[in-house]
């Protein structure tokens, strides 16, 4: 059941809406975590839109607020394409690393994984289990060791093996912890002694509220996020915060996660995302 279904049947085909209908639409946008300020702005714009119907108008406005940046993987010109996966605790980084690896493997690419979460208990084992399942090599170091040195080693392995992709899993960290953010910067710098990092993917959990914007902003400031993986879209949350991130920061959602298995993963498709958001 989409969030708009109840309301949408009311406005479907309507050529204009009353004030209270628009307010209801505003509150539906709020409900999907788009946030009060942006929701208000979207409604104001949709009201002014010259589209045939309010429904169409809102859809166009939503589309217009999505990022215009490319959603393709940024590939390395030569050598392994290096992807760093980051995010706050529990958003689905490790699972997404495995899913992305499986996806690329399905395209006949050669992938190496790096278990640079040396902090959380059994995080390395978790990625190893995925590696075993997928038949993909996982580079790891000592528990509680230096994540940068694991990442460095993995870069050398990927380079030496002429792998197509290196994907680095990192420990979850809250964006307001400066020391942990600095650690991430170090991981990046150290890897770049061997291989340039092509993508920094920030994993955002679709159940996240407005805080997701703060996450995206601060991770971008510290290590330059190039794309978003939006996970847990299989739940009842619609992930509207990702739209807010695209609108505010221009960072494109590149992938979506829709379950716990490696197949529950797909490149971002804006029509189906907006449909999920609004059931239009």
């Amino acid at each position: 059941m989409g969030i708009f279904t109840k309301f949408l049947s009311k406005i479907k085909g309507a050529s204009s809406l009353s004030n209270s209908d628009w307010e209801e639409l505003y509150s539906e946008l709020l409900e999907s975590d788009i946030g009060p300020t942006l929701s208000r702005q979207l409604i104001d714009e949709a009201r002014k839109s010259k589209s045939d119907s309010p429904e169409e108008g809102l859809h166009q406005i939503l589309l217009a607020h999505l990022s215009t940046q490319s959603r393709e993987i940024r590939r390395a010109e030569s050598g392994p394409t290096t992807i760093l996966v980051v995010g706050v605790n529990g958003t689905g980084k490790t699972t997404s690393v495995a899913k992305l690896a499986a996806y690329l493997q399905g395209q006949k690419s050669n992938v190496v994984l790096a278990a640079a979460d040396t902090f959380r208990a059994a995080a390395v084992d978790q990625l190893r289990t995925w590696g075993d399942r997928l038949g993909i090599e996982v580079i790891s170091g000592k528990d509680n060791g230096d994540p940068a040195s694991v990442a460095f080693d993995s870069a050398q392995v990927a380079l030496g093996q002429k792998a197509d992709f290196l994907i680095i899993d990192t420990a979850g960290r809250l964006h307001n912890k400066n020391d942990l953010m600095a650690e991430l910067g170090k991981v990046k710098r150290v890897v770049e002694k061997v291989l340039p990092i092509n993508e920094v993917l920030l994993v955002i959990d679709a159940t996240t509220g407005h805080n997701g914007i703060s996450q995206a902003r601060i991770f971008t400031e510290s290590i330059g996020v190039t794309g978003i993986i939006l996970t847990k879209l299989d739940g009842s949350a619609r992930g509207g915060v990702a739209l807010a991130i695209e609108a505010e920061l221009g960072i494109p959602i590149k992938w979506v996660g829709t379950g716990e298995s490696e197949g529950d993963f797909a490149p971002f498709d804006r029509e189906s995302y907006l449909r999920g958001l609004t059931q239009m």
């Binding site: 300020t37 703060s214 299989d234």
Partner: protein, 478 residues
């Protein structure tokens, strides 16, 4: 731009305080500000509407009886504070212990909420109080969740019942049932059951959660929820309430910058109290949830009560008492005392977290977030490079001595100078505190002077109830 709930609400009130006599429209505009602040903090829409309507009604009703000016604003502030505490669940509730042990606690929640880490924290919390908990590894879905729980259990010396390797293998219901039998036979007095994360809309997995519940007959089911959750809190908490039911809520990742929203929504929507708060990745970063303290934090009044408790835990009683005596007799606080405190402080956890509990910390959020934890270590190494005489009487610190200390600690002479300077500033501040005033601001941030082990012995005027909120919190924390 995202602004924290605290900043927004204190902003609304400081502008209210700035006005003369308040009118109904002033109240309405303040309520509009509060509404926006709550929505930006992800409080569920229906909760926001109810809350704001209530505040508005109560404030308008009280308006004619209020004295004009600042007092009016303060009266409204008090109304907001009271209602906040109310929707956060009133008084803190504790876990109900079973008449016939073991007391069984079952955890449930979405994927990634932080259940496994929390299981360890709960176990440590209760083991520290002399209980004998057993952890049961019933998350057999997520790869290596079992291993994770084992590592956690080992680090705190709590046994883990884990007959299945997990990662997709084994029956979580059977593990749970067997775990309870095992706990009974070995006479553990408490059992904490970790379960796999599941979505509220996943009927099959919700049924599995019910089966686990029926197998273990928990005394408490705790719903574990990430403090960063947005509007989905409404649907998800309702789904868990309908699907398995729960008796209390645990908020995790409260050390992020998303304070308040989820707490307000879930407590108010489910009428289940928030019982614990998890505030960091270390197993000690965990505490009972106090609605009044949370309300006071949301309103920018700090959380002196928690700070005092943590201090009490970290400082050993002997040295604390000695310091108190010194403090009361007006003796000088020396660098030696300071070193001792620095050491105790490292035990208390992250400095920025402690600083954020101080009243007015909201306004210094940026600085606090940017607090460089390694500064503590550096400061410590400088003091450690001093001789006992120097520590007791920093006045002897001439150029040559300072150069030697710099060399010994691997710091620059200017670092030593600035430490000594800040220390004497802190000494002054301590005198000010002793003479009854609260220090202004946070003092030298690089060298936080921890005035007391616990505020209970600070000589205070008992009567002052309504004045400085910081003071009041201090009184109430006793």
């Amino acid at each position: 731009m995202f602004e924290s709930l605290t900043t927004r609400i204190s902003g609304a009130f400081s502008s209210l305080r700035g006005r003369g006599k308040l009118s109904a429209s002033d109240i309405e505009s303040t309520c509009a500000d509060i509404r926006l602040a709550l929505l930006e903090a992800d409080v569920a829409q229906s909760v926001v509407e109810n809350f704001v309507t209530l505040i508005q009604e109560k404030s308008l009703a009280a308006l004619p009886e209020m004295q004009s000016g600042t007092n009016q604003a303060n009266a409204i502030f008090e109304i907001v504070n009271k209602e906040l505490i109310e929707i956060l669940g009133g008084a803190a509730r504790r876990v109900r212990f079973a008449k016939n042990p073991p007391t069984v606690i079952m955890l449930a929640g979405l994927q990634g909420a932080g259940k496994t880490t929390l299981a360890g924290k709960l176990a440590k919390f209760y083991a520290d109080q002399g209980n004998t908990p057993l952890l049961i590894a019933s998350d057999l879905a997520r790869p290596n969740a079992v291993t994770q729980l084992q590592v956690v259990g080992e680090s705190i010396g709590v046994p883990v019942f884990a007959p299945e390797v997990g990662s997709g293998v084994g029956d979580p219901v059977k593990v749970a049932r067997d775990g309870i039998a095992f706990a009974k036979s070995k006479q553990y007095n408490m059992v904490i059951v970790d379960t796999a994360g599941r979505l509220g809309i996943d009927e099959e997995l919700m049924k599995q959660a019910r089966d686990i519940r029926d197998a273990v007959q928990p005394d408490e089911i705790l719903f574990v929820v990430d403090a960063m959750i947005g509007q989905d809190a409404v649907r998800t908490s309702q789904a868990f309430l309908d699907g398995v039911g729960f008796d209390g809520v645990v908020l995790t990742k409260l050390d992020g910058d998303a304070r308040g929203g989820a707490a307000l929504s879930i407590a108010s929507l489910t009428k289940r109290p928030i019982m614990f708060a998890s505030t960091g990745e270390k197993l000690a970063d965990f505490d009972i949830f106090y609605p009044d303290r949370m309300a006071s934090q949301i309103l920018g009044m700090g959380d002196v009560a928690t700070l005092a408790e943590q201090a009490k835990k970290a400082f050993n009683t002997d040295s604390a008492e000695r310091l108190e005596k010194k403090f009361e007799s007006g003796e000088d606080f020396t660098l030696e005392d300071f070193l001792e405190q620095l050491e105790a402080m490292s035990k208390m956890g992250s400095m920025s977290k402690m600083l954020s509990m101080l009243p007015g910390a909201g306004a210094m959020k940026k600085q606090i977030d940017n607090f460089d934890e390694s500064e503590l270590v550096r400061t410590k190494s400088i003091v450690q490079s001093m001789t006992p005489i120097e520590r007791r009487d920093p006045k002897v610190l001439n150029g040559a001595r300072r150069a030697r200390i710099a060399l010994g600690s691997g710091r620059k002479v200017s670092d030593v100078n600035s430490l000594v300077e800040r220390f004497s500033a802190a000494q002054k501040m301590m005198k000010q505190v002793r003479n009854g005033g609260m220090p202004q601001g946070l003092g030298g941030m690089g060298m936080p002077a921890m005035p007391k082990a616990a505020p209970k012995n600070v000589p205070q005027k008992k009567k002052s109830k309504s004045g400085n909120p910081a003071k009041r919190a201090l009184e109430e924390g006793q």
